[in-house]
């Protein structure tokens, strides 16, 4: 591929004696939607969190949009504006309104004026279909709405790539659809996305590439049709089989 927007090489991560990532390489092109699947404990979340350095890799390199994320001289706060992250437990700030959540970083990191931040914030909320809830606090929103606000919070900073760490795993089934809708529209607008999730239906329809991880390493990767219908590796086949049984 041409210069990948995310270029991670040889990532290792140890948590004490536990070797969670064993030399992972991941290259993601612009506008690609990469879906990462695998059993729990396979290191998927850790890999994602290494990309914006929420997790400090034990060794390896991570370059996102030309910025060396692991270089101590890099302004990590500035770099993180280019990477949006959405968490399984939303992590919205309970003491602020939806608009407040979205505009905080705009004001404090991007240095926007309150008026300009509010305008951008409202636009982001509009994009996720929640412009009318701008004044609500997280406690007044459903799980699906909270997650969409969390997406707006990340999107408002105009990131070059977005990371989704099990975005729908904590949601009641009937609320999952609204979040996937937003993710679909993001993809259509050309956002580069790396998604760790169990939503196989979404992967089948929207993903460009599916990466299967197990025990800290990438076992196999390829187009969704290939991974889901004709996986080359035994372990992949076992995992897919287990998933489809549900």
């Amino acid at each position: 591929m041409n210069r990948p927007i995310v270029d991670a090489r040889g990532l290792h991560k140890h948590f004490g004696a536990l070797h969670v990532l064993k030399g992972v390489d991941l290259r993601v092109a612009e506008r690609e939607l990469v879906f990462v699947i695998g059993p729990s404990g396979s290191g998927k979340s850790t890999l994602l969190r290494c990309l914006n350095r929420l997790e400090e890799p034990s060794s390896g390199s991570v370059v996102v949009d030309g910025i060396d994320m692991l270089d101590p001289r890099t302004d990590i706060n500035h770099a993180r504006q280019r990477i949006g992250m959405v968490f399984q437990s939303f992590n919205l700030y309970p003491h602020m309104t939806a608009l407040g959540n979205v505009t905080l970083a705009l004001r404090k990191v991007a240095g926007k004026s309150r008026a300009s931040a509010d305008a951008l914030g409202k636009a982001a909320l509009e994009r996720v279909g929640l412009a009318d809830r701008a004044g609500h606090t997280p406690g007044q929103l459903s799980g699906g709405q909270q997650q969409r606000v969390a997406i707006a919070r990340a999107v408002a900073l105009e990131p070059r790539v977005m990371l989704f760490d099990e975005p729908t795993s904590a949601l009641d089934p009937e609320l999952v659809g609204s979040v996937l809708e937003v993710m679909r529209s993001l993809r259509e607008s050309g956002m580069t996305m790396i998604v760790v999730s169990h939503e196989m239906g979404f992967a089948r329809n929207a993903a460009d590439r599916v990466v299967f991880m197990d025990e800290g390493a990438i076992v196999e990767q390829g187009p969704p049709a290939m991974i889901f219908e004709h996986p080359a590796q035994e372990r992949t086949r076992t995992f897919i089989g287990q998933i489809q049984r549900h």
Binding site: H95, A105, V109, A154
Partner: protein
């Protein structure tokens, strides 16, 4: 008994002294409460650093000043320091003693508050590019304070009551003035008046605290 404890003449005569004492108690409180809060905040922020190397001595400091009776600390500063050639006035001694003592208590409370904010909050804030300090200031601290507000209020109440210790080192706050008036008139009425003033001043806070604590409990079940 009224003549002894509620002697109107004496109340009238000693009223100005008592009032001056009340004014000083209020001023003293307005000084030492923020001082203690600042001290506590510094301690709590230092404690939020993850390295045990920092956490252990910090906890030792906090436990030391929670174990040390404030009056002893006050006397040590007031009567002990002059032997080292340092003559701090009663007022300064009170300020320093309170900073050390109440700072430790506020520090504990704020530390517990900061610990009670889920780690995901900091992660979300940092993932949007907020620095460690910004995340603390805009995301963690507002939630931390909200979580421990009853404890903060309760401790502040204690600090205001503690100002009465100033009377031992001749700081002219309410109790000191009352005792002066009592020794001049040989009548305990001024002290009763001071007690009533303290009660009227602090009882609303006590009531408020009771209600806050009960509401917090109701939320738990």
């Amino acid at each position: 008994m009224i003549q002894t404890f509620f002697n109107l003449e004496i109340i009238a005569a000693s009223w100005p002294i008592v009032l001056a004492g009340l004014r000083n108690t209020v001023l003293l409180s307005l000084l030492v409460v923020p001082l203690g809060l600042v001290g506590g905040l510094i301690l709590a922020l230092l404690a939020s650093v993850k390295y045990p190397v920092v956490r252990w001595p910090l906890m030792a400091w906090v436990d030391f000043f929670r174990a040390f009776p404030p009056l002893v600390l006050l006397i040590l500063l007031f009567a002990g320091l002059p032997f080292a050639g340092l003559e701090l006035g009663g007022f300064v001694c009170v300020a320093v003693a309170f900073f050390l003592n109440t700072g430790a208590y506020y520090g504990e409370i704020l530390r517990a508050g900061i610990d009670s904010v889920p780690a995901g909050q900091v992660e979300a804030a940092r993932s949007t590019g907020l620095s460690r300090l910004q995340a603390m200031a805009y995301v963690v601290l507002p939630q931390a304070v909200r979580n421990v507000l009853p404890d903060l209020l309760s401790n502040t109440l204690e600090v205001v009551k503690l100002t009465s210790l100033g009377s031992v080192v001749a700081v002219p706050e309410l109790l000191y003035q009352a005792r002066q008036a009592q020794s001049i008139t040989y009548n305990p009425t001024p002290i009763v008046v001071a007690a009533i003033v303290y009660f009227l001043m602090l009882w609303p806070v006590v009531r408020l605290l009771s209600r806050l604590e009960n509401r917090a409990l109701a939320g738990r079940y």
